[in-house]
């Protein structure tokens, strides 16, 4: 299916995916800790010491531009989403724009503070007039004994939207309801924390998702969701009022934060699905549910290198400081 019925609106014309080459698997964690707290995660991607959310975003964005055969000079808007910007204040979108060679007239916005930021940025891109580059890049971080850190992966995905794109937005809904104390990161802190009330957290995840999807007129049964681990998306899907085919990438790459749901979308496309309900969840909680028509080809495969737990700790910054010393 093509997006011809939404030709006057922006649609996705190109996609790019980047994951770092290092992989650590569940067995490696079990050897180190005697257990692995990230349900449904078989392995996950780990960024190298010279990578961060800006460099991963640049990789994915350059691939999306090439996939759409669009000159960076013609991009009119850049929407960058991440829960782990490299600095707390300073527009990292300007750095990303400069790396990509976007024009100085480009309208830059950075969506953060929510794992739903990537889906929210994409939704805004559909409403933009002009050529919009949407990039979600993330590498969540928590204490090494925390389930959030066990699940934390790294990767970026980018979409190039133009009026000539092939993947269109059919409908979208939003749901907002406060659930205090679920996953959060305090002021001045590098680590994500959780209140750890399991039943409450599961309800805070599944309830808003069911409400957002439930308010769609015509949801597709292929559902790509934000996946904090490989288990929660399936739990949330069971709360929907139809039998869903669940798509996420947490089993292969771990928790991809603001990029998570968008990796789920690409996973669905990679499986040949050409109409998807995309669900972006952010603790707070807010949910955006989008129904997308059409698909693009994007490979999630790349050559990889398996690393041990000690290497994992060093590359993640758990033991090595910025000046090369140890914590």
């Amino acid at each position: 299916m093509t997006g011809t019925d939404v030709a006057e609106k922006n649609a996705i014309a190109g996609v790019g995916v980047y994951t770092p080459r290092y992989r650590v698997d569940a067995e490696t964690f079990i050897e180190a800790w005697g257990g692995f707290e990230a349900r449904g995660v078989a392995a996950k991607s780990v960024a190298a010491g010279d990578e961060d959310t800006v460099t991963m975003a640049a990789e994915a964005a350059e691939r999306a531009l090439a996939d759409a055969d669009v000159d960076p000079e013609s991009v009119t808007a850049l929407r960058f989403a991440t829960t782990t910007p490299t600095v707390e204040e300073f527009d990292v979108g300007a750095t990303l724009a400069a790396i990509l060679g976007l024009p100085t007239s480009v309208a830059v916005s950075v969506d953060t503070q929510s794992t739903g930021a990537g889906t929210r940025a994409l939704r805004a891109g559909f409403d933009d007039e002009g050529t919009t580059l949407v990039v979600a890049s993330d590498a969540p971080f928590a204490a090494p004994d925390d389930a959030v850190d066990h699940a934390a992966g790294a990767g970026a995905v980018a979409f190039l939207l133009t009026a000539e794109g092939t993947v269109g937005l059919r409908e979208a809904t939003t749901y907002t309801e406060e659930f205090p104390g679920t996953r959060f990161r305090g002021h001045g802190s590098a680590t994500v924390e959780r209140y750890e009330a399991t039943a409450y957290e599961r309800h805070a995840f599944s309830g808003p998702i069911a409400a957002a999807v439930g308010s769609l007129d015509d949801p597709e049964t292929a559902v790509a969701l934000t996946a904090p681990d490989g288990s929660l998306p399936h739990r949330a899907a069971r709360a929907l009022d139809f039998d869903a085919d669940v798509y996420h990438a947490a089993d292969r790459f771990g928790d991809l934060g603001a990029a998570s749901a968008l990796f789920g979308l690409v996973t669905a496309w990679d499986d040949g699905v050409d109409a998807v309900t995309l669900v972006g969840y952010g603790d707070g909680a807010t949910v955006d549910a989008l129904v997308l028509d059409g698909r693009l080809d994007a490979s999630l495969d790349r050559e990889t290198e398996a690393i041990g737990y000690a290497e994992y700790l060093r590359k993640r910054g758990h033991v090595v400081t910025d000046d090369g010393g140890v914590n």
Binding site: T55, I99, R302, G317
Partner: protein, 139 residues
Amino acid sequence: MGAYTSVPTWWNHSDSRYRLVCGECPECGAVSFPPSGACTDCHERVEFEEFEPEGTGTVLSVTVIEGGAPPEFASLLATEDAIAVAVVELDEGARLPAMMADCDPHAVARGDRVERVVRRIYEQEGVVRYGSKFRPVRE
């Protein structure tokens, strides 16, 4: 003792640091990187015609640093164990030294085809310095 580059100096050549913007000599046509100073071929001091290259090239020589890196690279060496540093000849003709990324540093060899990527070069005074590195072309 490391080599100190101030942020304004770094910023001054950011197009070249990020996207390898080169200069074509209006006198002899040779390509220089960065596009400032004298032409690397005819040695005339000229106003270069700046252009963005494809970002692909070939490794002319490579060495692997496993210890004793300048302090600004200490954390990268601590996380990655080894850093491959290559002299790369871009397909447009300019030559430049650069670090390799996204690969096994010990597997890089003379003659390898490489492509530009942007990575953290180092962090100094709280400011991350981004710039180009190269990785093997895998297609």
